[in-house]
Symmetry: C2
Subunit: 155 residues, 2 copies
Amino acid sequence: MGPAPTLLERLRARGWRVTPQRRAVAQVLTGDHVHLTADDVLEGARTILPEVSLATVYNTLRDLVEMGELLELRVGNGPARYDPNTGTAHHHLVCTVCHRLVDVHPAGLDDLGLPLDQRHGYVLDEIDITFRGRCPNCVRTDTTKPRVGTGTGVT
Amino acid sequence: MGPAPTLLERLRARGWRVTPQRRAVAQVLTGDHVHLTADDVLEGARTILPEVSLATVYNTLRDLVEMGELLELRVGNGPARYDPNTGTAHHHLVCTVCHRLVDVHPAGLDDLGLPLDQRHGYVLDEIDITFRGRCPNCVRTDTTKPRVGTGTGVT
DNA sequence: GTATATGCAAAGCATTTGCATTAAA
DNA sequence: TTTAATGCAAATGCTTTGCATATAC
C-alpha cells in the first residue's frame, strides 16, 4: 500500500481552506488515546498559535466530526471529547470516578451482531461498546459499590 | 419469591418523602421501552398534576438516578433520556436519523468481557452496548451512507 | 478579487441552584 | 413541630451563531 495521506492532505482534498488555526487544531488532535475536550484543544492549539479563539475551535471540531475525521464521544455528563482515531475500529473503557478514558481493541467482538428478532426492523450501521470501571488510580480510594446498570456485571 | 416491592415502596423504604409531584413523576416513568427526556416527563407529570415544576422534575430525576432506580441515557447531542427499566440487563438500539430508541436483550452477550491485556488495570463494573442504525420509518427516506465509526460495520 | 474563516460577544439549550414558601412526616 | 420538598427565577456550563473584519485561494 502507498503512503497514507495525512489529515491535512485529506482536508485539502475536500476543499478545506487550510488556515493556521485549523492546522493548530489538527496538530493537537493527533495520536492514539487522545480524547480531548474543546477546552483541551483550545489550550493545546494556543501553545502553537496563541490567538486561536474558542469559537474557531468549536467550528473546526464540528467540521471534522461531520467529515468523519474525528469521533465525538459523550461519556458522562461533562463536555464532549474528541478522538482522532477513526481508522481503527475500537471501543472505550471509561473510569466511572475520574472519567479517564482509554481505547480498547477487544478481539472477538468484530463480528458482534444483534439477532434478527431483536432488530425491531432497524438496519444496523454501527456498534459502540463502553466498558465502565474504575481505573488504577481511583480503585484504591473509591468506596462506591460496583453498579448493576444497563450492562452486565463483570468480574 | 414474594411480591416485588413497587417503586414507591422502595423509595419510601429509603426514607424518601413521597409528595404528589414525585408520585406523578414516578408514575410517568413506568413500563418498558420508556426513554423520556426531562421535558417529556414534565409534560406527562402535568397531565396528572398540573402544578409540577421543571426544577422538581430535574431534582427528582437526579435523585432516582442516584438511587439506581433510573438509568440516564445520553444518545447523540440532545437532552438526557431516562429509562426506568433497571431490573433487566439490556442494551440499546438507536436510530441515527430520528433517535428513536428501543431496548434490546441480545442473548450471548451476558458474559461479554474484556481481555485482561486490554483492561489497562481497570476494575470493570459494567458494559453498555449501543447499536446504531436506521429505524423502519427512516431507512426508506434516508440517503445517508452507513457510517464506519467507533464500532464495527454490521450487515 | 472573492468566497470563506476568524473572533468577539451575544444567544441558546439543558441543567443546577439559592431562597422564601409550603407540606410531609 | 421539624425537616425536607417545592417553585420560581437567576445562574451555570457547554455549544452555536450573527456579524464585521481579515485572509486563503
